[in-house]
């Protein structure tokens, strides 16, 4: 079983991202479960979303405490909360940032990857320049870093799960897929 944790801020679409990812994973034939932090969410405040992926039906209904990988939709969160809490050894930390992975230092044995999802989102006019919606872009990078679904699966999931600018969201996901920087 693979467990992922998404870090974002309220209003950035992390929960929607977890749902679209779950849909893509299901379309790829795996079993999946996605859920938000259980509780109240506020715009701007740090929020979490979680995804479980397995080859067999998922019975586990408790929370995720030790994720295999984390995905950070907003790089400013790294300063304000401990995004590596419970993260398993050798886990991927995928960050939305224009900086290369080498610019990020974490205590522990992790694989840092980055993708400039913000730039891509602005390019395709997703959200506004001040607060771009990066969730579909970052998913393109997620499936490249963690191959739990194919790009075709993701495109189908975006078509089903995004209400507007479907073509732009797909293009953003594709560009992010190609521009993921894996670090060393």
């Amino acid at each position: 079983m693979l467990e992922l944790r998404l870090h974002g801020r309220g209003g950035q679409g992390s929960v929607v991202a977890s749902k679209i990812l779950a849909d893509a994973v299901m379309k790829g034939g795996k079993f999946v479960q996605a859920f938000p932090e259980f509780g109240v969410e506020r715009r701007g405040a740090p929020v979490f979303a979680f995804v479980r992926i397995d080859d067999k039906p998922i019975l586990l209904k408790s929370k995720i405490y030790t994720p295999d990988h984390v995905i950070v939709l907003d790089p400013t969160l790294i300063e304000s909360i401990n995004i590596t809490e419970g993260l398993k050894d050798n886990g991927i930390i995928l960050i939305n940032s224009e900086l290369p992975p080498s610019e990020f230092k974490f205590e522990g044995n992790y694989r840092v990857m980055t993708v400039d999802a913000k730039r891509i989102a602005i390019k395709y006019r997703l959200g506004s320049k001040a607060s771009p919606i990066v969730n579909t872009a970052i998913l393109g990078a997620v499936i490249k870093a963690i191959p739990v679904a194919t790009m075709d699966n993701l495109i189908e999931a975006i078509k089903d799960g995004v209400p507007v600018k479907i073509e732009e969201n797909i293009a953003a996901a594709k560009e992010a897929y190609e521009s993921l920087i894996k670090g060393e």
Partner: protein, 384 residues
């Protein structure tokens, strides 16, 4: 069609497929996305239904009572304090023998102010005369609404489908949405013998003197007992159409088990993982999930428990001054039988406290070590 759905939306789809005709709901906290999606579906014209916004949960149920009495298929959804506010009219709905189906998202009761899960809201409605079904995943939530109408209309009793807050209500899982024509074949339109009808006027809810009141209660009880059979029959018929079978009980590896965990709701799913793990180390253990709480399937439970050594009941609820409620019910239903084995009552997971596989394993370890329970309520995971 398979779709990734949160539990709340699984309910909305279940109600839509059941072709409900009247939805009455109070749209503010503790309401959930159940009726939000339903209001969109009705507004889009995808469901021919009357959506009534009311000023309280009490009024929501009152509107459902009126609609159901007029012969419409009525639906509402609520949670925690909202369900508690409905309490008076819940009795009315069941004694008027109206087959309303309601979804209740199990949320703990305030104060302290809470939105997280436990079962005390629905279990407080134990004696209202409603059928209560506890679901364990989102697929079962959707299916239980559809089967719920079939059962409710067959025995003329209202039925509550209950699911854990967040663990199901806000969790996305793949759900198979059955075809409408399959559901239509399974669930024909509701057609009561007597309804509010100007062409055939009747007086409803009239004075019922002591010479006759008791007979109505007797018939209500007979209908409840009949429901035990009807739930299993309807669950089987639904299985023949969809491949998903539902019964009063959902046993897991109980046949050769010496020890049985008794669970309900989502805790049961996590418990199955623990059962598998313990079996690998040679412990003969099984999990009996109770789906139907009212009517309580005592006879079926007896059949499963009769040759076991120890029974561990996990309650995500508590009756203050006594014990966990499923524990009481299990004990009471076995008292006049030949089963004389120790039954342990564990209370855990209140107010959304996470129930992890580790915690369930701890419960089993505790029970295995002790010859018999030393306390009426064995608190697990509480900071004493």
């Amino acid at each position: 069609m398979k779709k990734v759905l949160m539990g709340n939306h699984a309910i909305s789809y279940g109600a839509t497929l059941s072709r409900v005709q009247v939805i009455a709901a109070y749209p503010i906290t503790p309401q959930t996305q159940v009726v939000e999606l339903l209001s969109e579906i009705v507004a889009n014209g995808e469901l021919e239904a009357e959506f009534i916004k009311v000023e309280s949960e009490h009024s929501a149920m009152a509107a459902c009572i009126g609609a159901s009495a007029a012969g419409a298929r009525a639906f509402t959804a609520t949670s925690s304090q909202g369900l508690l506010l409905m309490h008076e009219v819940l009795h009315w709905a069941s004694r008027a023998r109206l087959p309303i189906v309601m979804a209740n998202i199990n949320r703990a009761i305030s104060p302290g102010w809470t939105i997280w899960t436990d079962q005390n809201d629905s279990l407080s409605q134990r004696d209202t005369g409603w059928i209560q079904i506890y679901a364990a995943d989102n697929q079962e939530v959707l299916d239980s609404i559809i089967i719920g109408y079939k059962v409710a209309e067959k025995v003329s009793l209202p039925l509550m489908v209950v699911l854990d807050a967040f663990v199901l209500s806000h969790t996305y899982e793949p759900v198979d949405i059955p075809d409408q024509d399959k559901v239509d074949k399974f669930l024909p339109p509701y057609n009561p013998k007597i309804k509010l009808d100007p062409e055939d006027p009747h007086a409803f809810g009239g004075l019922t003197a002591p010479n006759i009141y008791m007979e109505f209660q007797y018939n209500h009880q007979l209908a409840m007992m009949e429901a035990k059979k009807v739930i299993n029959e309807a669950g089987k018929e639904y299985g023949e159409i969809t491949g998903r079978y539902y019964q009063n009980l959902s046993p897991y590896k109980v046949d050769d088990a010496e020890y049985i965990l008794i669970t309900s709701g989502t805790v049961a799913k996590t418990t199955n993982i623990v059962v598998d793990k313990l079996r690998e180390s040679g412990v003969k253990i099984g999990n009996l999930r109770i789906r139907t709480f009212r009517p309580f399937p005592s006879e079926e439970i007896y059949e499963i428990l009769k040759d076991k050594k120890k029974i561990f009941v996990i309650d995500r609820n508590l009756s203050f001054g006594n014990t966990g409620i499923f524990f009481q019910e299990v004990k009471a239903s076995l008292y006049n039988t030949d089963i004389k084995v120790p039954i342990f009552g564990f209370v855990t997971g209140l107010g959304g406290r996470d129930v992890t596989p580790e915690l369930i394993e701890e419960i089993v370890n505790y029970g295995m070590k002790k010859e018999k329970p030393e306390e009426e309520v064995i608190w697990m995971g509480v900071k004493k």
